[in-house]
């Protein structure tokens, strides 16, 4: 609960600092997935922390001294919002000035993410993919109830069931909108993937893991997990074949701008697939661990 609030407050801060895309991501992540994973782990392991026997003074001193050193370090930093700060004068103006001409989409963040720094983003997606594989490797062997009895359907929570049924359609639709509208407004594959996954997780929480597994089998999720990264990398290979640099989208269309549009759409789709699949399969792996959770505990 507090984790969600923490996330919401930081999302609001990001909006205030003009970082709408970041705020969107933080809100999508914090609203559900991170909280659920934390709660899930606490439920599987230990509910209470053992009373600490450690001395408190030493860590406190270390932290205090480090903080002081960092504060001293900030004295030389450019003041907040200074347009002449080094961070503002190097690459950023190029992105801001050239995006309209070279990429032709209004959202500069998406242009930088998917095109100018597409290689970097491919790396990030690979990290997410690898982390997903790691979770599956660690937890797949110890799944205790393959039938998914741990997350049972909440049969007698009528209001929850009805509200969830009504909400899931719009959530999925919204995820699609975020996915394909990322060129024009805040959004993109990362946010859409998380929202997609959140819809399935709500479904699994309310209607039971088994029902969710029947709707989206783990096998298909694992397939999508790899397919997203493959799609992203494949787009790069296509530009190779046409004799350009890796992930240069200009070859994908009749002219540069169209090519960029197609390329960004494709790789964002790949990102969305992988992110959603990693989140859903992580949730499946965690949810399959535990002995049944009683209804009273909700």
């Amino acid at each position: 609960m507090l984790a969600s609030v923490f996330s919401l407050v930081s999302a609001a801060l990001f909006v205030n600092l003009d970082a709408v895309d970041v705020a969107f991501t933080e809100a999508a992540v914090g609203a559900g997935i991170s909280t659920i994973l934390m709660l899930g782990t606490v439920a599987i392991t230990a509910r209470r922390e053992a009373p600490s026997t450690r001395p408190r003074a030493l860590p406190l001193t270390v932290v205090f001294l480090t903080g002081l050193a960092l504060v001293y370090g900030t004295l030389d930093m450019p003041r907040f919002g200074d347009p002449a700060a080094p961070a503002q004068v190097h690459v950023a103006p190029k992105y801001i000035e050239d995006t309209a001409r070279e990429i032709g989409i209004p959202n500069i963040v998406t242009a930088v993410l998917a095109s100018y720094r597409g290689f970097d983003t491919l790396g990030e997606v690979t990290v997410i993919f690898t982390a997903g594989i790691g979770v599956l490797l660690l937890l797949a062997a110890t799944i205790r109830d393959p039938q998914g009895a741990g997350v049972r359907a909440m049969h007698h929570h009528l209001v929850l069931r009805v509200v969830t049924k009504v909400l899931i359609g719009p959530i999925l639709l919204f995820a699609l909108y975020v996915q394909f509208h990322g060129d024009y407004g805040p959004g993109g594959g990362f946010q859409a993937g998380i929202i997609f996954a959140a819809a399935f997780i709500i479904y699994a929480l309310v209607f039971g893991l088994e029902t969710a597994r029947r709707a989206v089998p783990g096998r298909i999720v694992r397939l999508l997990l790899a397919a997203g990264v493959l799609l992203y990398g494949g787009v790069g290979v296509v530009s190779f074949v046409f004799g350009r640099n890796y992930l240069n989208y200009s070859v994908l269309g009749p002219d540069m701008i169209t090519g960029q549009h197609i390329g960004i759409l494709l790789i964002e789709f790949g990102v969305g697939m992988t992110v959603a699949a990693v989140m859903v399969s992580t949730f499946y792996a965690f949810a399959g661990q535990h002995a049944p959770i009683r209804d009273e505990e909700w």
């Binding site: 600092l17 003009d18 970082a19 970041v22 003041r79 919002g81 961070a87 993410l113 992110v275 992580t282």
Partner: protein, 125 residues
């Protein structure tokens, strides 16, 4: 150092406070889940630091509108929005490790795990 300097640096100090809070939780707590929570707090402070560095006074969100306007620096936004999603994926990996440690040792308290390790080594000798 005048009042303007204090205002201009106050953001960074708040971020450092948050960062040190996370750091304190990581080093002082023996509970592995709490350590991960601490890491998450630390991580959020780094995100805020990047976004603060990218903010331009009087600027707006970096989405082109056609009129000449001042935009915030889009580069930190890109780095951080991917980092948030990578962060949740790595958090999940960390929590999965905690779950496995709990299966292997029956505890997620660092002290007890260490004791169990020492006992096992003692038996080997």
């Amino acid at each position: 150092m005048g009042f303007d300097d204090v205002l201009g640096l106050f953001n960074y100090w708040a971020i450092i406070f948050l960062m040190m809070t996370g750091f304190y939780v990581v080093v002082s707590r023996g509970n592995l889940v709490k350590k991960i929570v601490g890491l998450n707090i630390f991580q959020t402070s780094v995100f805020l630091l990047y976004i603060c560095i990218g903010t331009v006074a009087g600027g707006t969100a970096p989405i082109l509108t056609g009129q000449p306007e001042v935009y915030s620096n889009p580069l930190p936004h890109v780095l951080i929005l991917t980092a948030i999603v990578v962060g949740i994926a790595t958090t999940a990996l960390g929590l999965a490790l905690v779950v496995r440690i709990n299966y292997a040792y029956g505890s997620i308290e660092e002290d007890q795990i260490q004791k169990a390790d020492e006992a096992a080594e003692f038996e080997e000798d």
